[in-house]
């Protein structure tokens, strides 16, 4: 089970839930399951099309097909820019 954490902004869409466990092998599956749990969240996370994800601290941009290891800690974070 992946432990999914939500930022304060994202918690508006989870009814205040700060973290939840989801059984998902990929980010795509995770997003599908989160949408079932929290309708509307997928659109929010997709809003920038480039929402990044941190899986066990490793930041991955554009992660749709990314595998999620068992018991991974997952954060949805802002897309990063840089100079």
């Amino acid at each position: 089970m992946a432990q999914v954490h939500f930022s304060a902004g994202q918690r508006r869409l989870t009814g205040g839930v700060a973290h939840t466990d989801v059984d998902a092998a990929t980010v795509r599956e995770l997003l599908r399951k989160l949408e079932e749990m929290f309708p509307g969240i997928r659109a929010h996370l997709d809003q920038t099309a480039s929402t990044a994800i941190a899986i066990d601290g490793d930041i991955i941009p554009d992660p749709l097909y990314e595998p999620i290891p068992a018991d991974a800690e997952v954060h949805f974070i802002a897309p990063l820019a840089g100079g």
Binding site: S7, R11, I59, P61, I77, A78, P79, L80, G82, G83
Partner: protein, 750 residues
């Protein structure tokens, strides 16, 4: 000085060879985009808005088109409108204004003519009718109800309820953890303040330039100055509505970028002009255009409150952070929120960020974008806590220092990071251990930057004489070719000068993201290493053919194939490449990857300043910077990045700012009054390379390009306080502002 955590014995990595592209640069032969001249080439000129905010009522180009030498005139109408959800929609509207101009300098039309004079004269002859609109330049004013609205289709996202009215506030971001009420209740010391910074420019010395040559076949070749030519290709294709296959982009040498050349301004215009005229077109910005029309980094207003227990442990943080985005929304406040307290472990915090559009050029990344303003607030207040508790500012930071496994404020757990090592390096430095000279003030600050990975490609070809060509897709903005050659030399075991590192165009190397986020040596370096490792496997196979044995009997070490059982004399790389034609053909390998695990970067800096109490002039007397490089591939250029970042940070802190008049027109669009540091403004910048290897890179590399610009602002502000007793929370720390603060301090009985 180099502090090493652990370091295998490298032969090339960590050495300081003369860079391969250096000779051309010292003899004046290096070719930058503005240096290219093609037969039949036309010169372009862009007409720009004189107004900060206006509706375009009409554009009449007839007179311009009739002028001698004029071959093409284009306006916004020549570019397809992109749908509202297209990620490049704002780019195209920034490139060429459509219904409205949103800042002074916004492009309106462009001309190509047979000479620069003719093009300039024709641009002047284009008649534009404007309906001037009220403008807004200030964050607080733009956020207030009733402010002039830049866009009627921007509604604030991230609010608790959907807004019904459009706003200049594009987005609200929020990060929250723990219980801040309790955190502040637990604090023995609470400090707070509002920090204000102005827009500042990247200030690269080479203005934007490109040449586009569009052929009868509808294909175009672009030579340009860019941090990422693949992005130039994709953005140009999007602006023109073209298939990317029609566009080839050749990277010229780039004369500085620092984030400012991660987007495009000229290329689609040059292509459109060239397509219309049927001739090559060169577009080169003037310095004034660079200031008026290309991305500065945002101005900001940040309100921060920190609480700390009497032992110095920070118990709570509350931040309200508003960043300008310029004329279109950007991610700047969000990044600021993610950085603001990252060098500290804080259990209770609430961080809110607001992106605010204003009538200024669209903001673009500038070296660790958004982090320096955030650090100004955080590290000034941390300094205040240290003083209130009578603690050493480095010991206070060590007490609150995160390390691997702690949770970063923006969510994930920290991997192995080198902040503690940087703090200790500064604490133990000669600079910090010696007392400041009488009358000098000392300031310390730390800084964080994410660093990013992204996509990179590399092709390594072995030549018949045993040399190698390394082709990557990363424009070299600070010596990365030398780093690529060093990593390839280390892998292949051949001399670094037997390797020719090349930046390939969009048709000779695989897709590579922009040189940004301190990623080139990290990510593109990974691709180079991967390709070299593939080559070594191939070389072993070829040796096996030559020895008529199984390839698993062959190992590669120290630049040669060795037979494990010792039945054959080792074969040097050149001996194998010489036979390549007979053992299976040329030897080459390509690697393309999405680099993961860019190690976060930290820097800690200390500076001593003197302040003329009667005039408010600040002189930087001494400066030391420590930064975790993971592994320094080419220490000269690591130091160069550290020193360059510090110098830019000093300029930002002391003198740089966008100044506008009441009409929203920039008043200082030149190097005379936009005051970047000159050689006599700075002392030597002492560097301490800290090496805490990044476990995710084969050589332990972390990006080094950006984080150096983060600490200088608070370090200098803290040093000015130490020297004068005046706390200044607004940039720049220019003589008038410093003198006013000193005068106010005196008035307060100080």
């Amino acid at each position: 000085m180099t502090i090493t955590d652990q370091r295998p014995g490298y032969r090339y990595v960590g050495t300081r060879p003369v860079r391969h592209d250096g000779l051309d640069k010292v003899v004046g032969k290096a070719r930058y985009a503005a240096d290219l001249v093609l037969p039949g080439m036309l010169y372009g000129h862009i007409l720009r808005s004189p107004h900060a905010h206006a509706r375009i009522v009409a554009i009449d180009t007839a007179a311009a088109e009739a002028m001698p030498g004029v071959r093409a005139v284009i306006t916004g109408a020549d570019f397809p409108e992109l749908p509202a959800d297209d990620p490049e929609r704002n780019t195209t509207r920034n490139l060429m204004a459509r219904d409205k101009v949103l800042y002074e300098g916004h492009a309106i039309a462009a001309v190509a003519a047979t000479s620069q004079r003719a093009a300039k004269a024709a641009a002047k002859a284009i008649a534009v009718t404007y309906e001037v609109l009220p403008h807004t330049l200030d964050i607080r004013e733009a956020m207030a109800p009733g402010a002039p609205l830049l866009h009627d289709d921007v509604f604030t996202t991230g609010l608790d309820s959907e807004p019904s009215e459009p706003s200049n506030v594009a987005n609200r971001t929020c990060y929250e953890r723990g219980d801040i009420e309790q955190g502040f209740a637990d604090a023995a010391v609470v400090v707070e303040g509002e920090f204000v910074t102005k827009a500042v420019h990247q200030g690269y010395i080479e203005p934007h330039a490109c040449v586009a040559d569009t052929g009868q076949d509808g294909k175009t070749v672009i030579w340009c100055s860019s941090q990422g030519h693949f992005r130039v290709r994709s953005q140009t294709a999007a602006m023109l509505g073209w298939d990317t296959a029609r566009i080839k982009v050749i990277p010229a040498e780039i004369g500085g970028g620092f984030g400012g050349k991660t987007t495009i301004y000229l290329e689609p215009l040059a292509v459109a002009l060239s397509a219309r005229a049927g001739r090559p077109v060169k577009l080169v910005m003037s310095r004034e255009e660079v200031f008026r029309a290309t991305g500065p980094t945002p101005g900001s207003v940040i309100r921060l409150k920190l609480g700390a227990a009497d032992d110095g442990k920070i118990t709570a943080a509350k931040a309200w952070m508003a960043y300008e985005s310029g004329a279109f929304p950007g991610p700047w406040a969000m990044l600021g929120c993610m950085c603001v307290i990252s060098p500290y472990n804080v259990e209770n915090f609430l961080i809110e960020g607001y992106e605010v559009v204003v009538n200024k050029p669209v903001n673009v990344a500038y070296r660790a974008p958004s982090a320096p303003m955030a650090a100004f607030a955080a590290d000034t207040l941390v300094d205040e806590i240290a003083r209130r508790l009578d603690m050493d500012p480095i010991e206070l930071r060590l007490l609150n220092c995160p390390s691997a496994g702690d949770q970063a404020p923006y969510g994930p757990k920290w991997p192995r990071i080198g902040l503690r090592e940087c703090l200790e390096a500064v604490r133990d430095s000669d600079h910090y251990r010696s007392e400041p000279a009488p009358g000098h003030g000392r300031g310390v600050a730390s800084g964080f930057w994410f660093n990013i990975g992204e996509a990179s490609s590399a092709t390594v070809n072995l030549n018949e004489n045993g040399t190698a060509t390394v082709v990557t897709g990363s424009p070299d903005i600070g010596g990365s070719r030398a780093s690529m050659a060093l990593m390839a030399a280390e892998e292949l075991g051949i001399d670094v000068y037997d390797i020719q590192p090349v930046v390939g165009d969009t048709e000779v190397v695989g897709f590579t993201d922009v040189t940004e986020g301190s990623r080139a040596t990290f990510a593109t370096g990974m691709a180079v290493v991967e390709a070299c490792r593939d080559l070594k496997r191939q070389l072993c196979g070829r040796a096996a053919v030559m020895w008529d044995c199984d390839s698993d009997e062959v190992a590669w070490s120290d630049g040669q194939a060795t037979h494990r059982a010792g039945e054959h004399e080792p074969l040097a790389l050149a001996a194998i490449t010489a036979e390549a034609g007979r053992t299976g053909g040329p030897l080459g390998a390509t690697a393309s990857l999405n680099a993961r695990g860019a190690g976060p970067a930290f820097s800690v800096q200390v500076t001593d300043v003197s302040v003329d109490e009667e005039t408010g002039r600040v002189t930087v007397e001494r400066y030391t910077t420590a930064q975790d490089a993971g592994t320094a591939i080419h220490p000269d250029y690591v130091e160069g990045q550290m020193q360059g970042g510090v110098a830019q940070g000093i300029g930002w802190a002391l003198n740089e700012e966008y100044i506008h008049d009441a009409d929203g027109v920039m008043e200082n669009p030149g190097f005379l009054d936009y005051r970047i540091p000159v050689a006599s403004d700075l002392p030597m910048i002492e560097t301490i390379i800290v090496e805490v290897p990044n476990p995710n890179h084969p050589y332990g590399v972390r990006g080094v390009g950006e984080v150096g610009i983060v600490p200088p602002i608070p370090a200098l502000a803290n040093a000015v306080y130490d020297a004068t007793g005046a706390r200044i929370r607004e940039l720049p720390l220019s003589p008038p502002r410093v003198l006013a603060a000193i005068t106010a301090r005196n008035g307060d009985g100080g």
